[in-house]
């Protein structure tokens, strides 16, 4: 890179950033947050909220940090008396018509108006007892309510629909203090990516109906994860309350999903809270069907695999991690097994203006990882092979009746299961964790390996599938040792040799060249 860099001083801290960087982004590099509302790094800046006014020495007026590029040698003050006073003024203006309904507002606790008023606002109102502006709550879409009274007219939502989703159904209507966010009366915010306006809204003006009054923000535990919904691999945060997943939100990754996720991914969390989970190993053999402890279950798995006289088939669901796929294949000596991942297909739904971001046709997060490890997406062939196989391992795959019948014809079936499936006639049901209960890695369609972290505890005795496979594999020969952590399980896999989970950071790392073959 030959980008020219520029050095400035921000609140006494020196920072060098590429030429053309805005003051607000340069300040971020210096570790200084310039309070702001309308600015968002994934949207064009209108500089209308006037919160980010900062002082540049020798400038006659404060300047908006969001649209002002830095110039070499500038001395910038974000926390000078003049800048603080300006922000105090803006906060006061924003509050005069803002209802103080924080106790019943979903945004409370993660509200930027609350945060900045708490930091720098005035303790008392000078507005007096004038009535506040009132507009009714409007239904904007399948999952979006507009609470106009809380709106600070930052216009992030309008700009998102105009410039990112490229479906301009929102507008600023009227003018002056009568202005509000309007929606085309014949339209609704049902664009596949429209839900992002709720995240973009810095206050509680655009709220999710699904999450409405469900939990207080401060009661939520937040966990970095990867959306399991498709091969895009959007970075998400899984929000839980009392170990129940209540919300999925985008987590910034400029290389993958910027600040956005699609509504399909956003909505698809209820399976994470299923109550009918398998929570102890079950073995069904000549001695009958019984719940066993892990050593007995592992021995059964190791023996079943060792005694297989004939072909081995692995049928994996779309949410299995590279660790689980890798170790299951190692257990069955993958080179001689037929292994496929079930990849449901859907319609591709692009976001509009962000290149290489879409809800993908292939609705399986780890297809690329599976392929790197030797699995295919040729589900039909694998299911057909299962009907005459000696051993079939079903790795949390959902099967149709016909597929289940084919699997049941195999000599023996080992079911790595989240929920039991009596149709399979499995000789062992091995309780496994889901991706929100374990640490693991998915590889997205662009070859980017990204890790997800556990968001809730595993039910009962459930283990990550990789651990079951690895422990059973270790029983197969002298001197084998199973990895003790997910990271060790990852490092031990040939395509990722030498990499640890920590090496992937929170935004992943590209480990393969070409993307997934369509």
């Amino acid at each position: 890179m030959t980008t020219e860099s520029v050095s400035v001083t921000i609140d006494g801290l020196s920072v060098s950033v590429p030429k053309g960087t805005s003051i607000i982004e340069a300040a971020k590099h210096a570790g200084v947050l310039v309070p702001h509302y309308c600015y968002h790094p994934s949207l064009p800046s209108p500089a209308v909220c006037r919160m980010c006014l900062v002082e540049i020495e020798k400038f006659p007026k404060l300047v908006p940090a969001c649209v002002t590029p830095i110039v070499e040698g500038q001395v910038i003050h974000v926390h000078s008396p003049a800048a603080i006073k300006a922000r105090e003024g803006v906060l006061e203006f924003l509050l005069i018509n803002h209802p103080l309904d924080c106790p019943v507002c979903d945004q409370a606790g993660e509200c930027e108006l609350q945060d900045f008023v708490f930091q720098e606002g005035q303790a008392a109102s000078r507005y007096g007892d004038y009535p506040k502006r009132y507009n009714p709550v409007e239904d904007f879409g399948p999952d979006i309510l507009y609470v106009a009274n809380r709106c600070i007219l930052c216009t992030r939502c309008v700009r998102f629909m105009d410039h990112v989703a490229e479906e301009p159904v929102l507008n600023v209507s009227e003018r002056g203090d009568r202005a509000y966010i309007g929606i085309d009366p014949s339209a609704t915010l049902d664009h596949e990516w429209a839900g992002n306006v709720v995240d973009l809204c810095p206050v509680g003006s655009l709220v999710s109906k699904d999450f409405l009054h469900k939990a207080r923000a401060w009661d939520l535990d937040k966990h970095a994860s990867i959306c399991p919904g498709c091969t895009q691999g959007c970075n998400i945060t899984v929000d839980t309350r009392d170990d129940v997943v209540v919300r999925l939100r985008p987590r910034a990754n400029l290389e993958v999903n910027r600040h956005f996720i699609c509504d399909t991914g956003r909505r698809d969390y209820r399976w994470m809270n299923r109550g009918d989970r398998v929570d102890a190993p079950v073995v069904a053999d000549a001695a009958g069907r019984r719940t066993v402890a892990w050593p007995a279950a592992l021995t059964h798995v190791a023996e079943t695999v060792a005694n297989a006289s004939g072909s081995v088939v692995v049928l994996s669901g779309g949410r299995a991690s590279v660790e689980s796929i890798g170790w299951v294949l190692r257990l069955v000596d993958g080179a001689n097994a037929t292994a496929a991942m079930h990849v449901p297909l859907g319609e591709e739904r692009a976001i509009g203006a962000v290149p290489n971001l879409a809800l993908r046709r292939e609705r399986a997060a780890n297809l690329a990882g599976a392929e790197m490890l030797g699995m295919t997406a040729d589900w039909a062939t694998a299911v057909h092979a299962a009907s005459s196989a000696a051993v079939v391992i079903v790795l949390d795959a959902e099967l149709t009746d016909d597929e289940a019948a084919a699997v049941a014809r195999a000599k023996s079936v080992l079911h790595f299961a989240t929920v039991a499936d009596p149709r399979l006639g499995a000789s062992a049901i091995l309780p496994i964790t889901t991706m929100v209960e374990e640490q693991g890695v998915y590889v997205n369609r662009d070859g980017r390996a990204q890790r997800f972290l556990p968001a809730k505890p595993a039910p009962g005795m459930a283990w990550p599938a990789w651990r079951i496979a690895a422990e059973a594999w270790a029983l197969g020969a002298e001197g084998r040792e199973a990895p003790g952590t997910a990271s060790a399980a990852f490092t031990a896999l040939e395509p990722f040799a030498g990499l640890t989970h920590r090496d992937l950071g929170f935004t992943g790392r590209v480990v393969a060249g070409a993307g997934v073959s369509a």
């Binding site: 309007g182 085309d184 014949s186």
Partner: protein
């Protein structure tokens, strides 16, 4: 008075109106620049800019209805509701205000039968509003009735003036 009609919407941009706008369009590098002229054409024809008209404008200019509505509601001269047959705008900004414009407004309300500013008279004949500076401050009180710009209206001259607008 224009009223909400149960008849299907009849497009405005046909025939001569359409040709006129298309010709005007050649004078701008973007089609969107025709938005204000197109809205004027709608209002001249129909008296107000209805939701259906917004959709027609949007289709004509290849923008969304939401976009058009954002623009319509910005400019105060476009009516988003039906108004009286004669639309009366009385300037009451400071220069006129200090010379008695509020008395002229009262005279208009009284002699038109409009119960309030912005309300239409029961016979559908008039709507009266106060307007911010009409830019004729030496001719107190300037009044716009439809497109007629009338200078130096006094409370006393209101009845005779209204008689010209049956």
């Amino acid at each position: 008075m224009s009223t909400h009609s149960t008849e299907p919407y009849r497009p405005v941009f046909t025939g001569e109106t359409r040709d006129r706008l298309e010709a005007l369009g050649t004078k701008y590098p973007t089609r969107q620049a025709l938005l204000l002229p197109a809205l004027w054409a709608i209002q001249e024809e129909r008296g107000w800019v209805s939701p259906e008209a917004i959709t027609e404008v949007a289709e004509f200019l290849q923008v969304t209805p939401a976009y058009v509505r954002g623009v319509v509601t910005f400019y105060t001269m476009y009516h988003t509701h039906p108004v009286g047959r004669h639309f009366i705008q009385v300037c009451t900004t400071s220069p006129c205000n200090i010379c008695g414009a509020e008395g002229v407004v009262e005279a208009f309300l009284e002699h038109t039968g409009c119960l309030d500013l912005g309300a239409t008279s029961p016979d559908g004949r008039f709507t009266v509003i106060e307007v911010e500076c009409l830019g004729a401050c030496a001719f107190v009180t300037p009044v716009l009735i439809n497109d007629d710009f009338i200078e130096s209206v006094t409370a006393e001259s209101v009845p005779a003036l209204l008689a010209r607008y049956p």
